[in-house]
Symmetry: C2
Subunit: 404 residues, 2 copies
Amino acid sequence: MLQGKVLVAQGGGPTAVINQSLVGAVLGCRRFAGVQNVYGARHGVRGIVDEDLVDLSQETEPNLELVGNSPCSALGSTRDKPDQKYCEAIFDVLKAHEIGTFFYIGGNDSSDTCRIVAEFADNAGYPLRAIHIPKTIDNDLVLNDHTPGFGSAARFVASAFGSVNADNRALPGVYVAVVMGRHAGFLTAASAAARRYDDDGPHLIYVPEREFSVDSFVSDVKEVYDRLGRCIVAVSEGIHDSTGQPIMTLLAKNVEKDAHGNVQLSGSGALADLLTDTIKDKSGISRVRGDTFGYLQRSLLGCVSDTDAHEAREVGEKAAHFAAWAGRSGSITIRRIGDYAVEYVLDKLEDIAAKTKVMADEFITSNNNDVTPAFIDYVKPLIGSDMPEVWRLRDYPVAKRLNK
Amino acid sequence: MLQGKVLVAQGGGPTAVINQSLVGAVLGCRRFAGVQNVYGARHGVRGIVDEDLVDLSQETEPNLELVGNSPCSALGSTRDKPDQKYCEAIFDVLKAHEIGTFFYIGGNDSSDTCRIVAEFADNAGYPLRAIHIPKTIDNDLVLNDHTPGFGSAARFVASAFGSVNADNRALPGVYVAVVMGRHAGFLTAASAAARRYDDDGPHLIYVPEREFSVDSFVSDVKEVYDRLGRCIVAVSEGIHDSTGQPIMTLLAKNVEKDAHGNVQLSGSGALADLLTDTIKDKSGISRVRGDTFGYLQRSLLGCVSDTDAHEAREVGEKAAHFAAWAGRSGSITIRRIGDYAVEYVLDKLEDIAAKTKVMADEFITSNNNDVTPAFIDYVKPLIGSDMPEVWRLRDYPVAKRLNK
């Protein structure tokens, strides 16, 4: 049974569709006659401990629909990672406001918060259902086929490389883009999803699931450039060497040794700049360009996968269903059925919390610098329908007359 | 009359809609019974002097339509800026292939190339019509209300700041994004187009039409941050101080003086990193983030203004019309009518070539860090219809019970 007061909050990095989950949860709860109020906490768990709560029961459905279609956490978010004491403070507020159901939309850390808060409630004999609603562009939650937010971010990355490939064909050279993902390479791998012609980029893809060697990188780039006259590279921000040292740190040291001066590591564009400088220095190729996709990749306005939006809405609604009928706390996970549908399962919080999923071996080629057809099959349904396309002119050469 | 052979080429940076102009020109020419062939030069003027030509007459209409909707120069482009000798080589190839009409899709440099090639033809008594088809995301061609390519790039920048504003409300701090534009600030100014609520960002906009003072910048940011608890800044890559020195060079020197070491200037992310470091150093604000929008802003797949695509197609078709009926060389310019329509005029090449338009004074606020409502009125029709929107939850606070 779902009744009394419900509290919902959003944690971690915003996504293009996280508000779909919020709206799915709010409207899902409203369908239950016994629900008195649906509260929202501003800025995640920080808003709970500060009692910075708003009453979402008073929101109109038309406005909720507009908010659902808007990117980034409408309630606000937080980077706080609650420890035991912080979770106890959360529980104190839930108790004081007679909250019987708590939904937290977020990634690993959010599921762990749900787990600890649920333990406090259990120990106090307080009837609380804490339900974790999955969200992360990193796609790194275990037991989930994929996570809401990933599909839209993957669509951005695929769209970006689709364009960059055309741009780089028009003005050939080497192009390197750094994509989000410290431990899991799914988002970087999505760069391959817009390939059509045999020589379409990205030609090289480096993910944090594999060791990165600067020497292999430079020779890979040279090989592609010598063959095609151009080369497009997708790199995860989390690439590291065999000892686990981030490549950014390693390259910055090299640059210092080469008497190029100290390079600040704090700037967000540093890794792309260091990689392009390395190619210039070591390969002799002159036109080398780099981009760091930055904040846009997690939620560019208008870059939304319809599949992702639809599922994000559903996991929110399912939270209300599980709260009503499962009779326990848990984390909602997404399972893939056939090609392509999904179903939702309520798993145990402790089976999700503080665990990280990375790319399966079958998704990465044996030479560690590309993705397999199995990954393309995996990611295509997630980036949604009506993906814009890049087509080429056919080749009808005109005979030369001057031959100078 | 339009007859014989036509040659079309694309120059400079690719855009989201440059292939619409190509397809408009090709299909426009095909309607004239006397046209024997429409050739394309691969990689702009470079392909002409190398006789690297393709016969676009053999392209099917369905494939041309697919190419028209694809971003980036389908014929390939070049950064070559032809001098007199280079233009003479161009003319030699046009003559050898009996080209009577030459269309060059591009910016300032391309119009100047048309001008010089047309002079060679005149001096040789060779009947050539050289028509410049405008294209540039910088929007800096004189006599034009705006240029094809700008609207879609402006839509990208507006969309980006719409999202970043929502992201920054969820996780407050200072955010700085560097936008393309060395001399003209139009694209950076377009960052204001997605504002809705009074406190929506960008809160500060710096364009190269005004001198940039690092001290004023830091105090502007502090003022906004103290007032709103967050601050979003749009900066043109071309910002410079009162002596014309680029701010990137200036800040890199400061960093060196402060014993932070030498900072490489070549990396594309350098200016954003330097500006965010400067804010951290001088304001004491801790969460400061920066992005450099990079190559995506000129043609992200799927980020297209329908107005822009439509007009880019039309200027291509008008090139065929002017070649047929104007009886002279020239540059096509776009004039605005009412609110909102456009008409196309064939201006003299020498009135466009090698000139640069910058933002009108009425588009920049008197304190030099924002745009005026007149600019918003100017840019809104250009970014196209169905612009995605960002909406907020309303504020229905819940009374505190613990008040800790």
